[in-house]
Subunit: 218 residues, 2 copies
DNA sequence: CAGGACTTAAGAATCGAATATGATGTCATA
DNA sequence: TATGACATCATATTCGATTCTTAAGTCCTG
């Protein structure tokens, strides 16, 4: 979303955020400025800008005079995140399906196609594609709701998506054919402009994903 | 919400945010680091931390190599904000009305009572109470949804509330008896545990407020 | 007069040093 | 031995100076 686009700054922002989402910076672990300076090659000031930003998005915990920590994970937090994602994403999908024009349909079909290719490969056992899968899944879900007409809604949603993604990355398992089927159901309903069915399919998709993640999560 | 509580930092954060919401830093105006340093007595680094934070909350626009600007306002943005507030706050209210215990009821009654006192004074023409009114209105709306059981939801909501508030402050007018009545309807329905009616009353309250603001806005 | 290259000034981005704070360990005293 | 004062250290916070980028003039040339 709204990049604070400079050179060192936005680069470290991207990298730290990515490392948190992909679990390379473990939940609840401490983020010492000096260590981060080594690791990311940026000065304390730049790092602090980044960390403050991530703190307000909820990926980092800022504690008074005690520094920064990766936001801890919990089952309860995951449930909250998933439910909020359902609330926002289904709402956005409804609007999008109502308003979407030809370009929107094209983007949805294209994103779905690309996601499908990757998912079939993943299903065939190629584990090296996790990073790609993440990108295509994101682009698919985004394409679906992009015609909702609310920048603010899309912006809130993107943060939620990333938070949810962190939990998925934590458990690391791929759901396989089920996810493929669910995606298909959503696309079909969306393209047929069946608002209710599309929203319900999406809700189910997230719900099932949540349950799956909760199960695997220790 | 989640304070990055230090001394200089959090103080300037609070002050700048307040100044944006209350219109003392006008929409779309440029935020030069030097000027801000004079005005808030903090160094560039500290200011940049603050501004980055406000940027990720959406109160400030950060443009690559061109600095910071107060996020501009627009009718369309206002509409988006109001609709999102309806979506999140009504959802939270439903949960809260379902789950709220005795303490919750007590807080709601208390917050409502205090808001009522202020609103009657405002209605009687005492304009000096704007800052107080803001606080009590916030505490009222928060009390209602506080038992929703989702920290994440409350956190998203609080940002939205503030964004909406900025528009209210922009038009400066007080809606009078109508608002008083609307608040009463919400409380009554909430205390009677009529989930649907409470949510609908709240939706109406925000909707009417939106239309009022849109009308006055230029 | 129009358009482009050069110069200059304003301001943003970045940095490492200086300061302040909280955590930890040590010692004296009851 | 338990407790509290004190010193020490690790680390967060804050700052102003330095470097880099962009925007605005200015001048030269066709």
């Amino acid at each position: 979303m709204s990049q604070s686009l400079n050179v060192v700054g936005s680069a470290t922002y991207q990298r730290i955020k990515r490392d948190i989402i992909f679990g390379e910076l473990a939940p609840a672990s401490r983020l010492k400025l000096d260590k981060l300076r080594e690791r990311y090659g940026a000065s304390v000031s730049t790092l602090r800008e980044t960390l403050n930003r991530l703190a307000s998005e909820g990926f980092v915990d800022a504690q008074d005079q005690r520094g920064f920590f990766v936001t801890p994970t919990s089952r309860n937090d995951l449930i909250e995140i998933a439910n909020l994602r359902i609330l926002l994403e289904c709402h956005a999908l409804r609007l999008s399906v109502e308003k979407g024009n030809t370009d929107w349909e094209g983007n949805v079909v294209s994103a779905y196609h690309k996601l499908n290719l990757i998912e079939n490969k993943l299903h065939a056992g190629d584990e090296s594609l996790k990073e790609d899968w993440k990108r295509y899944d994101w682009e698919f879900h985004l394409a679906l709701i992009e015609a909702c007409g609310s920048r603010n809604l899309l912006s809130l949603h993107s943060v939620l998506y990333d938070k949810y993604l962190r939990y998925q990355m934590l458990v690391l398992t791929y759901r396989g054919e089920d996810a493929i089927d669910e995606h298909r159901d959503i696309v079909n309903a969306a393209l047929e402009r069946d608002v209710d069915l599309a929203a319900e399919s999406l809700r189910l998709h997230i719900q099932v994903g949540l349950e799956h993640t909760l199960e695997v999560l220790e």
